[in-house]
């Protein structure tokens, strides 16, 4: 059989135009719902144009016609094999997707905790062995003075040093921490090495600060300062790291027979849930750090701040552990 191109185009053009018009309407109005008859017609037109494309590809030497039909069939194919439901936000499902994803990938979370703990031990050990390393390990001016001196300054302060810049300080903290957490997630694509380094470095900072203040006899101040925001912020960064390791695991694909694309597809919803959950936690932590953590005794008793931080941590643990269990 040899296609008579002109006759073929004349006969089939009405169907192509009908399909092109229908697709154009759907493109202009993505949320439009078709009736059952329209869906049947769309499917018929798609199959007819697919058959036309096959005939053109096999029997005709006409490249322009083939390209045009390819474009039409490609658009119809995406439309017919649509897998997404209209985006209706069901808050309960969105909220529960986060703890469920967290529990599905507990091994990755444990690895994130381990990397941070190893970093913290190293940081603590380094600062105890070499106090001069403080300037390198803690690149924040406020931390470079001795813990006792800082506590004296904070507790004797007569004015609010964040007066007039609490909101902007809070916004800076939120954006910085969300950025760090998203980098921890995205760095999983480096076979997990980037995530591991980032978590280790965070652990070094944390360990050095804790060791410095505990050794300086300021454990209560430290707990009162860190716990209100840290009980949410640190787990959020760990969850970012967890997501990074989930990504790395999908990239490496130990022992599985699925393709890399299938492995990424399988974890994409969980990565999305973990990233969203961690970002929401960091918004809360940023506000608490600015409005609560920076106020010390006598303005806010340490017992109250520590109690608040512990309650937050327990509530978070309960949510991650229990929410959405079948």
């Amino acid at each position: 059989m040899i296609i008579d191109t002109a006759r073929f185009v004349t006969a089939e053009r009405p169907f192509w135009e009908e399909l092109a018009n229908l697709l154009e309407q759907l493109r202009n109005d993505p949320e439009r719902h078709l009736s059952f008859e329209q869906v049947q017609r769309l499917h018929y037109l798609y199959e007819r144009c697919s058959a036309d494309l096959s005939r053109v590809g096999t029997f005709s030497g006409e490249p322009h016609l083939r390209q045009s039909l390819e474009a039409l069939v490609a658009q119809a194919y995406a439309q017919i094999h649509e897998t997404r439901a209209p985006l209706r936000v069901q808050w309960k499902s969105v909220l529960l997707a986060f703890p469920r994803a967290f529990r599905r990938h507990l091994a990755a979370f444990r690895l994130a905790v381990a990397a941070t703990v190893v970093g913290a031990v190293f940081g603590g050990f380094a600062i105890r062995q070499d106090p001069q390393a403080k300037a390198v390990l803690m690149p924040f001016p406020a931390l470079l003075v001795s813990p006792a001196e800082r506590v004296r300054q904070e507790e004797s302060a007569k004015t609010d040093r964040l007066q007039g810049r609490k909101a902007s300080f809070s916004a800076d903290l939120m954006t910085h921490n969300v950025r760090v957490t998203m980098v921890a997630l995205a760095a999983g694509i480096s076979w997990g090495a980037g995530t591991l380094i980032l978590l280790f470095y965070n652990g070094v900072l944390l360990g050095a600060v804790v060791a410095d203040y505990v050794a300086g006899g300021q454990a209560a101040f430290l707990a009162g300062w860190l716990l209100p925001h840290g009980s949410i912020e640190i787990p959020a960064i760990l969850i970012g790291g967890q997501a990074g390791f989930v990504l790395a695991s999908a990239l490496i694909g130990w022992g599985g027979r699925e393709t890399r694309a299938d492995r990424f597809r399988a974890v994409s919803h969980d990565l999305f849930a973990l990233a969203g959950g961690a970002a929401a936690m960091l918004v809360w932590a940023g506000a608490i750090e600015s409005f609560v953590s920076q106020y010390h005794e006598p303005v806010l008793p340490y017992g109250l701040k520590i109690g608040f931080g512990v309650c937050e941590l327990l509530a978070l643990a309960a949510f991650l552990w229990l929410a959405g269990r079948e």
Binding site: E17, E70, F264
Partner: protein, 251 residues
């Protein structure tokens, strides 16, 4: 080895292709998006400045948070709402699609945009650009993770037969069995080259044009040998035009 097109085979056994967007074109689209984002940020800054009367601190905080949220949400919102296109991609005729030719899911859109935190390192998307250059389907890391590719959009265009092969007397059609053999033997690539040569003939230098039509005519003569009386007095260019009329029209 890099692909220049993404081939998709449907369950019905039909194969179609998408032209993959190159990193350079994607870079231009990103530049446009960066300018759009800068303009939106400027507007948001002006609006948040109105809060200064209430509280300068609040205005600064809202400005910082808005810029950050906008820089992430811009790509997610546009690519979800416009099915894989931002303003820059629209301008350059690019579209993000699922690597199996399907439409995008929301999680794919979010993931490929979150991966910009890594693709954007250390600056100006160097990691992303390096990844696209090394990837078979020109994917940056975000595309690899989200299973997406960026393609050049092809719109449906009705074939313009009159322009390519205007209706004129064609002596080759006097030998229908040879015309049929020619239609059957002509490869799409050679026909595409002939179409380009005919439609863009005035762009070639005279000598190059003669050589090009000579080569094409020799190629088509080898596919089907018409008797001398059918092609008597016919130049190479006229012969190629007649061949196209045979391929595009039966009468």
């Amino acid at each position: 080895m890099k692909n220049s097109a993404l081939l998709v085979e449907t369950p019905e056994g039909v194969t179609f292709s998408y032209d993959l967007a190159t990193p350079v074109v994607r870079g231009f689209a990103w530049l446009v998006d960066a300018l759009v984002l800068a303009a939106i940020s400027y507007i948001v800054t002006q609006i948040s400045a109105l809060l200064r009367a209430l509280s300068p601190d609040l205005a600064a905080g809202v400005g910082t948070a808005s810029f950050f949220v906008l820089s992430i949400a811009y790509g997610i919102f546009c690519e979800w709402r416009w099915r894989g296109q931002t303003i820059g991609k629209r301008l350059f005729g690019l579209r993000v699609i699922d690597s199996h030719g399907l439409r995008l899911r929301f999680s794919q859109v979010v993931l490929r945009n979150l991966m910009r935190f890594f693709d954007g390192l250390p600056l100006l998307y160097l990691v992303g650009a390096a990844s696209s250059l090394l990837s078979r389907n020109l994917q940056r890391l975000g595309d690899l993770v989200a299973n997406t590719v960026v393609v050049r959009e092809r719109r449906w265009e009705e074939p313009d037969i009159e322009r390519i092969a205007p209706a004129k007397y064609n002596s080759l059609l006097g030998w229908p069995h040879l015309a049929a053999r020619l239609r059957n033997a002509a490869e799409p690539e050679a026909v595409a080259m002939a179409v380009r040569a005919v439609t863009q003939r005035d762009r070639y230098a005279p000598v190059a044009r003669v050589e090009l039509f000579q080569m094409l005519a020799e190629h088509f003569r080898a596919a089907a040998a018409f008797p001398p009386e059918a092609i008597e007095g016919m130049s190479d260019e006229e012969y190629v035009r007649s061949v196209l009329r045979v391929i595009y029209r039966a009468n």
